[in-house]
């Protein structure tokens, strides 16, 4: 029985009761604040506190922290407690710093000193306390300080067992922080021999450490294999009375057995026949024991026993060399599949996934297909059903693919929303991987769209199109099937997309049949047109223009549609543009040109399915188990032909080639969807130029934005939105789950009025809401900013408006900082953003003729007045986009001045209170090299430099 803790810390108990008695959150905060004030005054007061009081207050602070409040004082007092000679005070001190002190705290030196003292104490309880603290904090500094000390403690003959246990795990923790503290050489064998230690607790701790060391350096620690096998053998053959307190509910040393089995999974099967035989004996014994009647009805007994069994099965799968054991393991798991414990069914399904990847047991796993399908249909817990899906996916091969895919499709109709998307991808992959007949594949994918259209990601329907385009034998069938699917009264939009694309390419293959004549096809598609989103409509417009080529007889009907007001005057620019251009194309181009431009798509480069890549990304562990390198021979990745092209790379290299043959495989993230789904386009090289003209595709400026500059860490990274604001005055500056900040600004000469709109997106009030503006460096001498205060409470869902008046005194380079602090649900929030107040905002466009431009240009001939940059284009070099940016920048775009019409020439005046600075700008694009040269001359060198810096990032 523990001794009475008479100290009891009454004050603490009273405080905790008080908190529990608080009727509302507000009352609780009030009580806490009162307590904090009290403690603060006690710590600050002149009267020195005795150890007990310090302990009590530190403990209260800890409690407050654990309630979820920030604690910013008391650390020093806690550190003082570490050197107290009363154990209870020391212990509380250690607890406080373990929980509350971060690794880079300035008090760390003091803490480490105290730990050192305790580590060398003669009292093992003090030593353990120090070790626990090191393990709890585990910082780099600790690893450096104690990394060489602890191994000594671990293997020394003088160290008592409990200290050894802590030392082993403490060393493991430091090893995870800093891997170069690995003890090697003479230490190796001494550490390995801990596996032979008399004390089971020491072995249990040590085996964790050894496992980590083996992972770092398997060869050096090879000696552990035979020791681990013999230790394991002794445990599995022990009766449950042999190991006394290390027997857990009649299972001898389950934790140690599990760890030893895990340790052995770091190595291939033992080479030494004796060791190997002994290991196999152990594994057999474990499998045998699983068949024995349970020694207890308690769930703890079966859990411990089965934990060891599952780990043994993992090792059997890892060894992958004993067919007999693999099949036995499979049968055992098969029994668990129908066990009444949900946990066991879950684990059995999971473990079988791995068994399915071994050639020895793949067939044995397939015997359980029916049970797994039943599990999929009847399990009440979605996480178990998820495992069943995984297993079906893993056990699928050519022989059972149709059946499994069929079951999965069936289940999909009622499947949980949370797993639908993943299931769709799995079905799509299996159908592709094991399709011997591609009509089946097309059917499966169209079924997917029918059943779970909302969960069919772009990759899935892109893929079916890639495959149809690449496989001539299935094109006619695909056209016929999509045509039939379209006739259904309710038809998913993804179906319309696939049908639109396929009919646009291969509609002619079914046009012979009166029931699917060109006109019928067209009408059917167009009946869906008005129900679809702009993206799909854009795709359909392309289908129509392809029909112009395929079916000249319905050309007029199509032209009428293209001509209609709802298209030519559509508010979506993309639709408007497509309608106009396609209409022109159909009217002006000769049939030869039409046939070239609108020719059938060339085959896509063969490559790994992008669906697989996504699945891998989503579930790295899972797909590796199925298609990982270890078992690759058995389960090749789902490829038609893997050329090893990585999509993201591909699309990054050629962002402006949106209208190239690559369209469908490219991941959509970099491009606007409208562009990506434009299906027809270039069919061969001769037409490429023409196409670029005709479609006038502009890759949206956001495209390159993904490769944004990396922010500087201290400040919220709003670089991307800052860039956006260089060319515009209004917009959203920042947005997260809690808060949205919008900006509206007006500029007149050197003055600016900026409105900041803070929107509370949550359902709770923001309290103590204080936005403040600060000027880094000497910015305050250059920008005079006046801020109107705002209300400190922002109601849920409300928006607060704040006005800033800014005067530009002289030119500047730094950006003012906006710091916002508020309390949301009792949690202090703070964020700092850079305000988009750049020098170009104070620029006024200036019109001038060629003569005066060149006179001024020549006058500014001092080398410091010029700033120049030559740089690679980040965004597509589209002339309209460039012009828009230049105008947005606040300067006048001057035409007819530069002898080269490709070049852009601009002029503007920057207004400051002290000075007006005239600026002349020349931007020379080189489309061949994808480069620009930017030259800026102004009457002030700092202005030229700053403008050059701001402007070049925009292109």
């Amino acid at each position: 029985m523990p001794a009475v803790r008479g100290d009891g810390m009454r004050g603490l108990a009273v405080f905790i009761s008080d908190i529990r008695n608080c009727k509302s959150k507000e009352a609780e905060i009030k009580r806490i604040n009162k307590e904090l004030a009290n403690i603060r005054s006690k710590f600050r007061g002149d009267k020195t506190l005795d150890g007990y009081q310090k302990k009590k207050y530190v403990c209260k602070l800890l409690f407050i922290f654990l309630l979820g409040h920030d604690i910013d004082f008391g650390h020093m007092e806690a550190v003082n407690l570490l050197s107290s000679n009363k154990y209870s005070e020391k212990q509380i001190g250690y607890l406080f710093i373990s929980v509350l002190i971060s690794a880079n705290n300035e008090l760390m030196k003091l803490i480490i000193q105290s730990i050192k003292n305790d580590l060398s104490s003669r009292n093992p309880i003090h030593v353990n306390l120090a070790l626990q603290c090191i393990a709890n904090i585990g910082s780099r500094e600790m690893a450096e300080t104690f990394g060489s000390e602890i191994p000594k403690l671990l293997v020394s003959g003088d160290t008592i067992d409990v200290v050894k246990q802590s030392a082993a795990l403490c060393l493991l923790r430091l090893l995870r922080t800093l891997s170069d503290i690995i003890p090697s050489g003479e230490w190796t064998s001494r550490i390995v021999h801990l596996l032979n230690d008399q004390h089971m607790g020491v072995v249990t701790s040590a085996v964790n450490l050894i496992d980590a060391l083996v992972k770092k350096n398997p060869d050096e620690y090879k000696g552990c294999i035979s020791l681990a096998v013999s230790r394991l053998s002794r445990i599995v053959t022990a009766s449950y009375t042999d190991l006394q307190d290390y027997t857990y509910y009649f299972v001898p040393a389950p934790w140690l057995s599990m760890k030893l089995l895990r340790l052995l999974q770091n190595y291939p099967p033992p080479e030494d026949p004796g060791v190997r035989g002994r290991l196999i004996e152990c594994l057999e014994t474990i499998l045998n024991k699983a068949q024995e009647p349970p020694k207890s009805k308690k769930v703890q007994h079966s859990n411990a026993k089965n934990a060891v069994l599952f780990e043994a099965i993992s090792l059997i799968i890892h060894m992958d060399s004993e067919p007999n054991l693999l099949v036995r393991a499979c049968n055992q798991l098969g029994q668990f599949l129908q066990h009444r414990e949900t946990n066991l069914r879950y684990l059995a399904l999971e473990s079988m996934c791995l068994l399915a990847t071994s050639e020895f047991s793949h067939e044995a796993v397939k015997k359980h297909q029916e049970t797994v399908v039943t599990a999929l249909k009847t399990e009440r817990d979605v996480s178990v059903r998820q495992r069943a899906v995984d297993l079906l996916y893993a056990m699928c091969d050519k022989t059972n693919a149709e059946e499994i895919v069929g079951e999965m499709l069936n289940y999909l109709e009622t499947a949980d929303y949370s797993i639908r998307e993943e299931m769709v991808m799995k079905v799509a992959i299996l159908a592709e991987k094991y399709a011997s007949d591609y009509t089946w594949y097309v059917d499966v994918i169209l079924n997917l769209i029918r059943i779970a259209g909302d969960y069919v990601s772009e990759e899935v329907w892109y893929r079916v199109i890639q495959i149809v385009i690449n496989r001539e034998d299935v094109q006619g069938y695909a056209a016929k099937t999509v045509f039939e699917s379209l006739q259904a009264p309710a038809c998913h939009e993804n179906m319309v997309k696939v049908a639109g694309y396929i009919l646009g390419e291969f509609g002619n293959l079914i046009a012979g049949d009166q029931r699917s004549s060109p006109f019928v096809q067209f009408n059917l598609l167009h009946s869906k047109y008005h129900l679809c989103a702009a993206q799909t409509r854009a795709l359909l417009l392309t289908t129509y223009v392809k029909f112009v080529n395929l079916f000249p007889e319905i050309r007029v009907d199509i032209q009428n549609i293209l001509k209609s007001n709802s298209n030519v005057r559509n508010s979506e620019v993309e639709l408007q543009q497509r309608s106009m251009e396609y209409l022109q194309l159909s009217q002006i181009a000769s049939s030869d040109v039409l046939a070239t431009v609108l020719e059938e798509m060339p085959p896509f480069p063969e490559r790994e399915s992008s669906i697989l890549a996504i699945l891998k990304k989503k579930k790295p562990g899972m797909s590796e188990g199925v298609t990982g390198p270890l078992k690759e021979n058995k389960h090749p990745a789902a490829v038609i032909n893997n050329t090893g092209v990585s999509y993201t790379k591909n699309s990054e290299n050629a962002p402006s080639l949106a209208v190239s043959a690559d369209l469908l495989g490219i991941s959509s993230s970099l491009h606007q969807p409208t562009i990506n789904s434009a299906p027809p386009a270039s069919s061969n090289n001769t037409s490429t130029n023409l196409l670029v003209d005709v479609f006038g595709e502009t890759t949206s400026p956001t495209a390159g934005g993904a490769k944004s500059a990396i922010g500087d860490g201290i400040i919220v990274k709003n670089e991307e939105s800052l860039k956006k604001f260089i060319c515009k005055h209004n917009g959203i500056l920042f947005e997260n789950d809690l808060l949205q900040i919008g900006i509206k600004s007006e500029y007149r000469q050197n003055l600016c009025q900026m409105g900041l709109f803070y929107g509370n997106k949550t359902n709770f009030q923001f309290l103590s809401f204080t936005p403040s503006i600060s000027s880094p460096n000497n910015l305050s001498t250059k920008l005079n900013i006046q801020v109107k205060p705002v209300d400190t409470v922002v109601e849920a869902g409300a928006q607060v408006h704040q006005i800033l008046n800014v005067e530009c005194i002289e030119d500047f380079t730094d950006l003012p900082l906006l710091t916002i602090q508020f309390i949301y649900c009792n949690v202090q929030q703070k964020l700092t953003l850079r305000l988009p107040l750049t020098i170009n905002k104070f620029s006024e466009p200036t019109v001038m003729n060629s003569e005066s431009f060149f006179t001024r240009w020549k006058n500014l001939n001092n080398p410091t007045q010029e700033a120049q940059k030559i740089f690679k284009a980040t965004y597509p070099m589209d002339s309209e986009a460039v012009k828009a940016k230049l105008i947005g920048f606040g300067i006048q775009l001057l035409t007819g001045i530069d002898p080269n019409p490709e070049n852009y020439v601009c002029a503007g005046i920057i207004h400051t209170r002290t000075l007006q600075v005239g600026c002349l700008i020349r931007l020379e694009p080189n489309t061949q090299a994808q480069m620009y040269r930017l030259t800026i001359r102004s009457s002030k060198d700092t202005v030229s430099k700053e403008l050059c810096k701001l402007l070049h990032e925009l292109f």
């Binding site: 108990a13 626990q132 795990l169 703890q300 949900t342």
Partner: protein, 202 residues
């Protein structure tokens, strides 16, 4: 390796948290919030394991308290359940029929016991006897209290004296605390449910 352990009540109140991997406070709060919501939404007969991000969550409910551990992908789920059980056993033995209130009022003890069971996210000592021995040794080191620190409020002192049981010091403390709660007018449902012992095996 165990990444962290959380104890929370049926009402979603966090009672104990132990992190074996460093995270910023903000993230800890986010993780905690998400997990508590996820687990409280699950039905009783469901599986005790779930995938969460790249971790596995193992949880079990004992009376009003949920014990929840996050482990790595290759860790053993069943034995993690048993780590939880062993911890509950230890608390039970130490406090004598442990209940949620014991953990609230003696959170520091709960931490000390956990530190003896697990270190750096790995199991340190599986023997119940040995852990209790270590804790008893710590308690022995602690100074005996001056009698002046006994509570001096009228009613509670009486009740306190009445419930004193020298053989079951922990139990006495709990009854005492409960009494205090009653005296202070908090005999609410919440209090009673906190009083339920965690018990075993369900």
């Amino acid at each position: 390796m165990l990444q962290f352990m959380l104890l929370f009540s049926r009402q979603g109140k966090l009672r104990l948290q132990k992190w074996y991997v460093a995270h910023p406070d903000k993230q800890k709060k986010k993780i905690t919030r998400e997990l508590i919501t996820t687990i409280l939404a699950r039905k009783p007969k469901m599986c005790s394991f779930l995938e969460w991000k790249d971790l596995k969550i193992v949880y079990k409910r004992y009376a009003s308290l949920y014990f929840c551990c996050a482990i790595d992908q290759d860790d053993n789920e069943l034995l993690t359940l048993e780590i939880i059980h062993r911890y509950v056993e230890l608390l039970d033995k130490y406090f004598g029929s442990v209940c949620e209130l014991d953990i609230i009022f003696n959170f520091e003890k709960a931490y000390f016991i956990l530190d003896e069971l697990l270190l750096g996210g790995e199991i340190q000592e599986t023997s119940k006897k040995n852990v209790l021995k270590a804790i008893a040794a710590q308690d022995l080191l602690q100074e005996t209290s001056p009698s002046s620190s006994l509570p001096d409020w009228n009613l509670t002192v009486i009740l306190h004296a009445l419930t004193w049981d020298p053989l079951e010091p922990r139990k006495h403390l709990r009854v005492f605390l409960k009494t205090m709660a009653l005296v202070k007018g908090n005999a609410s449902e919440d209090c009673c449910s906190n009083e339920t012992t965690l018990g075993f095996g369900y």
